[in-house]
Symmetry: C2
Subunit: 468 residues, 2 copies
């Protein structure tokens, strides 16, 4: 089955494209940079949505929905915001066959329009904090696009909150970062992300601080997988988000915003994939176990469905593949391409001995196991794959992250992974210097790994890398 995919070592970007196409995850849309997400790719996204949505709600935020169309004037109110997003706007100028008097933008993000409504809804300190989230599509007119990683339209969630104090806003943006995003990425996606503070150069347009989660991909490059922004009072000021405090004084709100997107599907592909295709961690997988019927002889077909039923009752997301008119090898390759974490092969030869073959996608390890008690064996295998994927990713990340003392060393080390260099050595000028070579500061971190809230804090390290 060689030649299904370009090997990673030969051409990593090509390998990525091959996986996206052959695992039937997505295709390019007809309008430049847009994306068609196929059923299997969308099923993975639905699982991400379910897991993230539960975590966001557990942090107290409620879902809502704001319009796709935003008046251009809204963007102009916040100077950095308009500068950051104007070059990326798609603008509607014709509606109902007529030229519009006031053209409007297709939302690239919703701080402005949500700020406008929050200002109406917040009157008193009793209305705070106001914790909102929306699942939506957004559009950014990108020049160079790549499926899932950078597309002109993508799907995401964007959280927007308003608070009475700086501290409350900061704490909530940090809570989302850890309890919603990091927990999901590490425990479910099995990608041990680095969490830190963006430099001023990489900050969200209009934020006072941006925090991020950076995953290491199989080629050693970084992928920003989520961000959480402290917006200070910048948007509150221009959208007049005032509340009366306990003493009856008018105060400006403090706001946050935070987002994760279909980009995480790209992170999944490059974080765990190998030369046989995608590898989906069991806790995320829309199909955790495929029961693969080898031949429909001697009651093997009945057994396959009976085992699937047993697995389903045990809470395993299972699917039967009984397409015996297609060769077994071809079907096995297909499930490997799709990264289904565990495969149970049911054939008459094994069954004669009361056994089936259990195959792990990550290691390829095969084991003959008894038909009786299959659910427990599959559950154990799923747990093992989940843990091993996370620990393998962590080991690879740690092995490819080096501490360096100079800008030159940082640049060199970033060719194959992450480099950690003192921010006091690098600084804004060093950051610009690295940028010329395509290396960026992914985040700043405290020595103890704790979150920094200002790049002026002493003793910070800069984590630098090439990035998607």
């Amino acid at each position: 089955m060689a030649g299904v995919l370009t090997p990673q070592a030969e051409d990593f970007p090509r390998w990525y494209q091959d996986v996206v196409a052959k695992a039937e995850l997505a295709e390019n849309g007809p309008v430049r940079g847009t994306m068609v997400i196929r059923p299997y790719g969308y099923a993975i996204w639905e699982r991400m949505v379910a897991e993230m949505d539960a975590r966001i709600k557990a942090c107290g935020a409620q879902n809502a929905y704001f319009p796709l169309f935003i008046p251009l004037e809204y963007f102009q109110r916040e100077a950095e915001h308009v500068e950051g997003f104007s070059p990326e706007l798609a603008v509607v100028t014709v509606g109902g066959g007529k030229e519009l008097e006031e053209p409007f933008a297709v939302r690239p993000t919703s701080e402005t329009i949500i700020g406008e409504y929050m200002a109406k809804w917040v009157q008193s300190y009793r209305d705070l904090p106001l914790l909102l989230n929306q699942w939506a599509n957004v559009v950014r007119w990108e020049l160079r696009t790549r499926l899932f990683l950078r597309s002109s339209e993508f799907l995401w969630q964007e959280g927007h909150t308003a608070h009475a104090t700086y501290e409350d806003a900061r704490n909530y943006s940090v809570r989302i970062l850890h309890e919603a995003y990091e927990d999901f990425m590490v425990q479910v996606l099995a990608i041990p992300v680095q969490v830190g503070l963006k430099t001023a150069a990489e900050r969200f347009p209009g934020a006072i601080n941006s925090m991020c989660l950076e995953g290491m991909m199989a080629d050693g490059k970084a992928l920003q997988m989520g961000t959480s922004h402290q917006l200070g009072q910048n948007f509150a000021r221009v959208f007049d988000m005032q509340f009366s405090d306990a003493d009856g004084q008018q105060q400006l709100c403090w706001t946050t915003s935070w987002g994760t997107s279909t980009r995480m599907v790209g992170g999944l592909i490059m974080g765990h994939g190998d030369d046989r295709g995608l590898v989906v961690p069991p806790r995320l997988a829309p199909i955790q176990c495929v029961v693969l019927l080898v031949k429909d002889e001697d009651g093997a077909g009945d057994t396959a469905f009976r085992l699937a039923n047993e697995l389903n009752k045990a809470g395993v997301r299972v699917q039967v593949d009984n397409r015996v008119d297609t060769s077994f090898g071809r079907r096995a390759v297909e499930w490997e391409l799709k990264g289904v974490p565990v495969r149970v092969e049911v054939g008459p030869r094994d069954l004669a001995e009361g056994k089936v073959t259990l195959v792990r996608r990550d290691t390829g390890a095969k084991e003959a196991v008894a038909v009786d008690g299959i659910a427990g064996r599959v559950a154990d295998a799923l747990t093992a794959v989940q843990d091993d994927l996370r620990e393998e990713a962590r080991a690879l990340r740690d092995a490819r992250t080096v501490d360096v003392a100079t800008i030159e060393e940082a640049r060199d080390a970033a060719q194959t992974g992450f480099a950690r260099v003192p921010w006091s050595v690098l600084g804004v000028e060093g950051e610009q210097e690295l940028a010329k070579g395509g290396v960026s500061v992914r985040c700043l971190q405290r020595e103890d790994g704790g979150l920094a809230f200002s790049s002026a804090e002493p003793g910070l390290s800069a984590l630098v890398a090439r990035a998607y």
Copy 2:
């Protein structure tokens, strides 16, 4: 608490607006005709999505996602489709600060773009049926808009399927109509919809047959709550959706499309609401039971949370209202406005006798019930409310549906409800005649209530009404 809402009898459209605003369901967006869906309105929509999504998946369809932007040229391929949708398109002409060489439309519906991709994916009869669905926002540039009922952007699901034969396509479009849509609307929304065939005048642009589900609102007008279309080979022909059959011959596919939207929230409001506000059927309700703490004295607060915990464990979607600094009456009115089906009032006076007060939103009936075994009593009340809402809606619908013999009688009867008139009496000319007076044919039905597949069938009745 008089004066919270305009009474229905005084001004029904105003009552509707009041409910939408005061139950905090939605607001107008800044760009004309767009809609901000607030958390409580969105929670209702999320429940609709969950229930519908499960039914659609049970019918075998898989979710996918297609781009928001569609080349204008796609619309022009199907003559009726372009004629129907061109006047409603929002067009993007500027991207990334530059005039686009090829402007494109924001999707009003996705038959064209999905047809283009299905054509690539379908090669052989083995690839059929191809059953896809997407949850998405769509935009139609409407002149007169009303929140939920007709907005320029709305949220919906649109299913798109391809089949090998006319019969298979027809059967699937009927299956979705009954098993996904009618089942949800009758059993969950508690709205006993009328199911039937659209006349040629009301057909989806590009379909050979459109079927629909029509609910009767509290003012006797009809609301189209969902549609399922047989598209014949119209889109297959222009998007070249061919497959090789079992004999190796190239054949054109037969396709369907079907949709339901946030319009159903409007149907919920007008289908069950009363002068005290929204009434949400228990199976749909995001909050099925509110535990309302009267006063936090003599351990009443602890009891309220203990009961809520018990209800939650019993699978009831429950919320505690312990805002005792707001008057009890005001809070009771708020939960009535939001239509929460069952309220449990917990106060020290009742508790002294081991009791709490259980209140049904639909009837307003209050009953003192024992604290012990509260979960069973609430569950019974929820079942009763669900059944009574549906049967009350059915009784009202039947009482306001009359059989008539002439066009004049049909026009008169449609002022207060539905009229059923022989299609042989009405015909296309009669339909046009009625339309002048704002009365339309909602659907054609067989005498036995069965679905018709052609308006040429003998013995059909036309169900006519004023409609939203």
